[in-house]
Symmetry: C2
Subunit: 199 residues, 2 copies
Amino acid sequence: MSIARKPNPARRSEQSRQAIFKATRELISEVGYANVSIEAIAARAGAGKQTIYRWWRSKAAVVFDSFLALSEAGRQEEMMLPDTGDIEADLKLVMRATVTEFADPDFEAPIRALNAEIINDPDLAAQYREKLAGPVEEAKKARLCSAQRAGQIAADADLDLVLELLYAPLYQRWLHRSGPLTPEYADALVDLTLKAFRP
Amino acid sequence: MSIARKPNPARRSEQSRQAIFKATRELISEVGYANVSIEAIAARAGAGKQTIYRWWRSKAAVVFDSFLALSEAGRQEEMMLPDTGDIEADLKLVMRATVTEFADPDFEAPIRALNAEIINDPDLAAQYREKLAGPVEEAKKARLCSAQRAGQIAADADLDLVLELLYAPLYQRWLHRSGPLTPEYADALVDLTLKAFRP
């Protein structure tokens, strides 16, 4: 069939998208968010500048999609936290996976560069919360709610505060490279947080 | 006496030092650590470039001294945490003061810029820990030790972890502007941390 020999536009378009995301993440790691240009992304990705402008309305939009794409494959499952009925076991599983991710140089370099930008740029911080952190936090809160209904976490617990107690120490330790990121550390944070919010 | 009319070199030298510190902090807020030059500091402070090179061996050294100077006057007292025998009351006093400091735009702007640099620069992170964070943490740990002896905190508690649970949520909330910094928030962090580390 002649159709098999023709280039597949949908497939080429997806390859181009992935090349643009990869180039964006690499450039952010190398030169920092502020110094990345659409021109440089296009050059590295082997794509046309106009293609990028047609698909995204700003540099920030490409950057966010490139981070979303990083875990797009596993995204559907990731957005639902495991719910075996045992909040301690489920949180330890998730926190250990997070620690492993942050300890991976390939994963952490672009995230680190993005974090440095977010600190100085309130607009970027707001976008980050809305597009990346927000949806993930909602998924986590859904799991915590289920633990509240099961009487494993105080019914009046502020879930924003639960997430801060659980994740902020790990985030700060990673950001400042101030201590080891180990499975034992992940477990300790879960144990302490559950004790602090015990009914 | 003629000596009263002569310029006082020690005093002029201290004024010059303070002008250099102020210029350094202002420039970091305005253009970011990476873009601050010794030339620009000298020009804004009305000092000679050679003076700066004579007093400090690097840009990082001037920057750190300029942050140390920010609380130099209160430094001696700050380094000792209050010890009334009531760890809850003492920590709430200190945490409320920290929240107030981070909510002050004049104080927070240069600290924010410095934090963004620390994230991308492991050497700067190590210097920050050694010169600024380290001594303050030792003072806090001394107070926590005293609470351990009084049976108010578990004897086997990891004091690094106590400090992370207490301060990292506040730090992250400030860094990401993700929630209000209030006295109630300071109190909540103290209550939760003490519950998590209860003997």
